[in-house]
């Protein structure tokens, strides 16, 4: 007896999971970690746009003070120039003392960017060296773990506030305060990675085959670390800029005569009811910077993961 074939409609089927990376594995030829990372990263137009935005904003904030004659701290005694709306000869308007907000915004961006960059470089530099030692030197493990426990368990606000009080508010105080707590997290991360990579099978195999140490470090270990470190640096910058805003809010930020995004936001906040633009413009600039760094950092982290390479 012949049974009719069931009706094999296409909707009964689903495509099998297809892993592009696994498919490419057979065609593996001239794999370069950095080229693949950059290619994956630059594949998205959003990443390119945000990276370009960062470059433009940072360059502008460093060039503006060199070419503009406007003094961001010049107080005008004529009350007619106080709290002027944006447009009227001042692109972002003026604040409660007649200071030009356009100039202040760029000077502020420069200060905040410098702060973020210095903290990022110090955090990542110290974190990398300490983390590598922590991972390689066994005797250091107990001490470093204890330092980690202590730093990680003092509420961070306590630490920031105590240090700012002991050292008086200022640019370098904030740098020291944020770095004292920031490096240890990166060090811990690097240490875990170093431990994992150092004893990974491919490294043992490589060592057995007689790969020289410098080649092992450059080709086997470093690629895994550098991407993490770049990501950490990219994410430390918005974090530091945000911390400066927070410290300004509790009165421990930069001195008021220093123009920074934190000071601008906190001053603008006080006048928000009457002159909202005094908060809006600095905030938009600040958000553009922190969001760009945050997204670029995360995208780079994704791109640097070899599992996402094609």
């Amino acid at each position: 007896m012949k049974r009719p074939m069931p009706d094999l409609a296409p909707e009964l089927f689903r495509p099998a999971l297809f892993d592009e990376a696994a498919a490419e594995l057979t065609g593996y030829a001239h794999y370069s970690y950095w080229r693949s990372t950059m290619r994956t990263f630059l594949k998205s137009p959003v990443s390119i746009f945000l990276l370009a935005l960062i470059v433009v904003l940072v360059t502008a904030s460093f060039i503006y003070p060199l070419v503009s004659p406007t003094d961001p701290n010049r107080v005008d005694l004529d009350t007619a120039t106080w709290n002027m709306e944006p447009g009227s000869g001042h692109a972002f308007g003026t604040d409660g003392l007649g200071r030009d907000l356009w100039a202040r915004a760029w000077y502020g961006t420069r200060t905040s960017m410098l702060l973020g960059l210095i903290i990022a470089i110090l955090d990542v530099g110290i974190g990398m060296i300490a983390g590598a030692l922590w991972g390689y030197v066994k005797r250091l493990d107990r001490v470093m773990t204890e330092i980690y426990n202590v730093l990680n368990n003092i509420p961070q606000t306590v630490f920031l506030i105590l240090l700012t009080y002991i050292m008086r508010p200022g640019f370098w105080t904030i740098v020291v305060a944020l770095c004292t707590t920031g490096w240890i997290g990166i060090a811990r991360f690097v240490r875990n990675k170093v431990l994992m990579i150092r004893d990974a099978e491919y490294n043992i195999a490589s060592r057995c085959l007689g790969t020289p140490l410098h080649r092992m470090i450059l080709k086997n270990v470093l690629p895994y670390l550098v991407s993490i470190l770049i990501m950490e640096a990219a994410l430390t910058i918005p974090y530091s800029i945000g911390s400066e805003v927070f410290l300004g809010f509790i009165g421990l930020g930069l001195p008021l005569d220093t123009v920074s995004l934190g000071n601008l936001v906190n001053l603008g906040k006080n006048n928000f009811m009457l002159y909202p633009y005094q908060l809006t413009w600095p905030t938009l600039l600040l958000a553009a910077i922190t969001i760009s760094f945050y997204i670029v950092g995360n995208r780079f982290a994704d791109a640097s993961d070899p599992r996402n390479h094609v």
């Binding site: 202590v150 003092i154 009080y165 805003v245 936001v265 928000f272």
Partner: protein, 319 residues
């Protein structure tokens, strides 16, 4: 498990001691002028100032002061406030303020977990589709823009829009909504982003492919296999989050004038009210360390694969 727990307890105690001693000594580095109110400082001459300081006990050897602190602690006496609430026992102050922070914090934590985990699952299931995109935008805004800015804007706009009170009133429940909601926003983002990441990681595992290949519906695969395993690394942080709700949120409590614990520490340090600072640091570090300890144990209970002797696999990064 017994010896491991005991050894971890010993280590935790050691860490608490180091934290408390270092903060105690750091406080002794602050200028002594901070112990006076401005008028007092101007009105007193040098001898009166010295007498005042000696009377307060801050001129003693720091080691002796620490001894006093410890012996007081043994009698459950954390000292009395100096500057903020003169001569009020620190314990009384904490007992009065802690409930505000605790209730707001717990309410926000429940909301964060409910909505955050839901959003995380949704984002992982709809990966690279509209829901994932919207979720990512939300998470990015909350995490990348300094919270002070959006907390302030929410207070300004929402209270204006709905006619709600701008500050907290103990007897008007409608004024409790915004602080709780604001407090939940970053928690929701935290749960959503980590759950999404762990679920996406988990989805590429062989056992998930196997479950899919044998014909299990996607919904069952996601809840029965992927979600359960993705929750394991998050469980570790749960005890600490619960315990530290008592610390309150500095920004939110000061924006909405909630008389909780959030601003207490900053004020105490600013006015050099050392007994309060010491008590708070002791409290927060004990709770923080206890949280990590409980988190490790909870994780072992949830996931039997995790070994007792492992060095606390901290998987999720900056909170």
């Amino acid at each position: 498990m017994g010896p491991y727990v005991l050894r971890r307890l010993g280590q935790s105690l050691f860490t608490v001691v180091i934290v408390v001693v270092s903060v105690f000594m750091l406080l002794r580095l602050m200028p002594s002028s901070g112990y006076f109110t401005r008028e007092d400082y101007v009105n007193m001459d040098a001898t009166a100032r010295t007498a005042y300081l000696r009377n307060m006990g801050v001129l003693d050897n720091p080691a002796i002061q620490f001894g006093h602190f410890i012996s007081g602690l043994a009698k459950a006496d954390l000292g009395r406030s100096i500057a903020i609430y003169p001569r009020t026992p620190v314990l009384t102050i904490l007992a009065e303020k802690a409930p505000y922070s605790l209730w707001f914090g717990l309410a926000a934590l429940v909301i964060s977990m409910g909505l955050g985990l839901g959003l995380g699952v949704l984002m992982a299931r709809q990966k690279d589709k509209v829901a994932d995109g919207i979720g990512t935008v939300y998470v990015t805004i909350v995490r990348a823009i300094p919270s002070l800015i959006w907390l302030f804007l929410i207070q300004q706009w929402v209270t204006g829009l709905l006619g709600w009170p701008m500050v907290f009133y103990g007897d008007r429940p409608v004024s409790w909504i915004l602080p709780t909601a604001s407090l939940s926003l970053s928690g929701i983002a935290w749960y959503a982003i980590w759950l999404r990441r762990f679920m996406v990681d988990e989805e590429n595992r062989d056992y998930v492919r196997f479950a899919t290949s044998k014909g299990l519906p996607r919904r069952r695969v996601m809840t029965g296999h992927v979600l359960r395993n993705a929750l394991v690394p998050l469980v570790q942080y749960f005890p600490q989050q619960v315990l530290l709700t008592i610390a309150g949120s500095l920004l939110i409590e000061s924006i909405y004038s909630i008389p909780g614990m959030g601003g207490l520490l900053v004020n105490a340090i600013r006015q050099q009210d050392n007994p309060i600072v010491q008590a708070l640091v002791l409290l927060y570090s004990v709770l923080g360390i206890a949280g990590v300890f409980l988190g490790d144990i909870l994780m072992m209970l949830v996931d039997p694969r995790i070994k007792l002797e492992g060095s606390g696999g901290a998987k999720a990064g900056k909170a």
